[in-house]
């Protein structure tokens, strides 16, 4: 199990505990965290699970794949070259315990 913190624009914080292997996208959907959509069900085909990862966690993330990188051009909210990732491509693990992400203003 590990904790993910979703920081919202209005200052509120959603903290969820999820089983290892759960993607950040699925963690948000399962727990009703607002602002993450995941229209394609986690296949890196829709870019509606866009998140900005907190700088402290960047080096612990799985490497970004070519498909994910290209789909990030599609996000409704501006892409941050350093911090933007697709939530469906990041699986939680103990190494990522406490992962903090900012939820973008919009996904569609």
């Amino acid at each position: 199990m590990a904790k993910i913190q979703f920081q919202h624009e209005d200052g509120s914080l959603s903290v969820v505990d999820v089983a290892d292997g759960t993607s950040v996208m699925r963690a948000a959907i399962q727990n009703g965290v607002p602002g993450i959509v995941g229209e394609c069900g986690g296949q890196a085909m829709c870019a509606t699970c866009h998140i900005y990862v907190h700088v402290d966690y960047l080096d612990r993330l799985p490497p970004i794949g070519v498909d994910e990188e290209e789909m990030l051009e599609c996000t409704a909210a501006p892409k941050d070259d350093q911090r933007s990732r697709l939530g469906c491509q990041i699986a939680i693990s103990e190494a990522l315990d406490g992962l903090t992400v900012d939820v973008p203003t919009r996904q569609v």
């Binding site: 699925r26 959907i29 399962q30 009703g32 394609c40 986690g42 296949q43 085909m45 789909m71 051009e73």
Partner: protein, 427 residues
């Protein structure tokens, strides 16, 4: 905004509409009626990961378990609407309960076509539309040695690729002379046919099912129209779907192979709307002036548009259609509609399976089919929604920066005409 909205159908469109209504400020009652007991789920996964070893129940739900309660929405699961009375503004459920509405939204989806054989069919023959059907297929896959897939459409090819990736022999029978003939250019169809065959999927074109063979009530094979017998201990039928228009037709609404709606998604009854697979909607510029699309994008974008209309901001549905299909390692994305294309231009590296096919009709870009090229797809959506004028000749330039083009404003009305040149590339 205080009107009672009743939505028939708890698929992608229905659930997105619930979401959109509340987020656009609808404060009146909302009732969502779904005929499955199961919590609303992601349908595209059913022909992909959900059939695989890593399938898990958590991958399916469209929202959190408390979604309906949190939004004060009444969700009636396992409830089938059997009739609609527009004059009384109510629907009747299978148990006789009547549900009155101020606005009714039909989001009934489509139902899969079945093989035209007498029932009951032998065990081991499955359609694939619902999560329950997907579970049956996945269960049978545990023991299957030979799978026959009937139909080389999106569902058929996705299932075939998944089955092959599980190391099981699979044969696809397609009655037409190309795969995905309705949806794709010949070039992309040919590419997919070759790629699947290279991956070990047997695909037989111009073959239909003449007879299901069985022993002790269980399928053992398929005899085709050409007289061949294909052994099978599991048959998955993916031969298309028809829009579910029963309620609309019975209630006297205009139906034409879809519940007919205008571009505000309103039916021939001013209190009844239709979205998603079941809706045949007005779209200027397409042949026939109407479209019906079976895709997640269409369902969710129509739901979003209707949510605005129902909360006081009439919104014409004009979104550029887009679509994806993951068939094993082949990741296909389509922007726009390629029907009627008279010119295609290929860009990319077909040899490494990364390329896009740009489809023009009368000199206008109408669609882009992308294989393993998400960047092309994303840019294509920008080009199509921006109405950007693209000269097919320009696509021949190696240095063309399509991404910057896609940010241009729509062109001026006064323009010189451009003659398209024959530029079809080889794959």
């Amino acid at each position: 905004m205080t009107r009672h909205v009743v939505i028939v159908g708890a698929g992608h469109a229905g659930v997105q509409l619930v979401d959109g209504l509340r987020s656009n400020g609808h404060s009146g009652p909302i009732t969502l009626i779904g005929d499955e007991e199961e919590y609303p789920y992601h349908r595209p996964l059913l022909s992909k990961e959900f059939l695989g070893h890593q399938a898990s129940p958590e991958m399916l739900p469209l929202r959190s378990p408390t979604f309906f309660d949190d939004l004060a929405v009444e969700y009636r699961a396992g409830a089938r609407v059997v009739s609609l009375a527009p004059d009384r503004q109510l629907v009747t459920l299978h148990n006789g309960a009547e549900v009155p509405y101020d606005d009714l939204v039909l989001a009934t989806g489509s139902t899969p076509r079945e093989l035209a054989f007498e029932m009951p069919q032998p065990e081991g023959v499955h359609l694939l539309r619902t999560a329950a059907q997907a579970r049956l297929i996945r269960h049978d896959l545990e023991q299957a040695r030979e799978v026959v897939v009937v139909g080389a459409g999106f569902v058929g090819l996705e299932v075939a690729a998944l089955v092959r990736s599980r190391g099981i022999n699979v044969t696809v029978l397609e009655q037409g002379d190309q795969v995905l003939a309705r949806a794709l250019t010949d070039q992309m169809g040919k590419f997919l046919l070759d790629a699947h065959r290279q991956a070990g999927v047997s695909i037989h074109l111009a073959e239909s099912v003449a007879e299901l063979l069985s022993q002790d009530g269980r399928v053992t094979g398929v005899r085709s129209t050409s007289g061949l017998t294909y052994p099978a201990d599991l048959v998955v039928v993916g031969i298309g779907a028809s829009p579910d228009t029963r309620l609309a037709a019975q209630a006297g609404l205009s139906v034409d192979g879809g519940v007919m709606v205008d571009d505000l998604l309103r039916s021939s009854d001013r209190h009844i709307w239709a979205i998603g697979d079941c809706a045949s909607f007005a779209r200027p510029g397409v042949v026939g002036g109407r479209l019906r699309l079976e895709s997640v994008q269409n369902a969710t974008d129509q739901a979003a548009a209707l949510a605005k209309t129902l909360t006081g901001e009439p919104t014409r549905y004009s979104a550029v259609p887009w679509f994806w299909s993951v068939q094993g390692q082949l990741r296909l994305q389509i922007a726009g509609l390629s029907a009627g294309a008279d010119l295609t231009v290929v860009r990319g590296e077909p040899d490494s399976s990364r390329f896009s096919i740009y489809c023009f009709r009368s000199g206008q870009l109408v669609a882009v089919e992308s294989m393993n090229s998400p960047r092309d797809h994303v840019i294509a959506r920008g080009l199509l929604s921006g109405g950007v004028r693209l000269d097919p000749c320009d696509l021949a330039r190696i240095d063309l920066d399509l991404k910057s083009l896609s940010r241009l404003n729509p062109p001026d009305k006064a323009e010189s005409t451009t003659r398209p040149h024959e530029l079809s590339g080889d794959l």
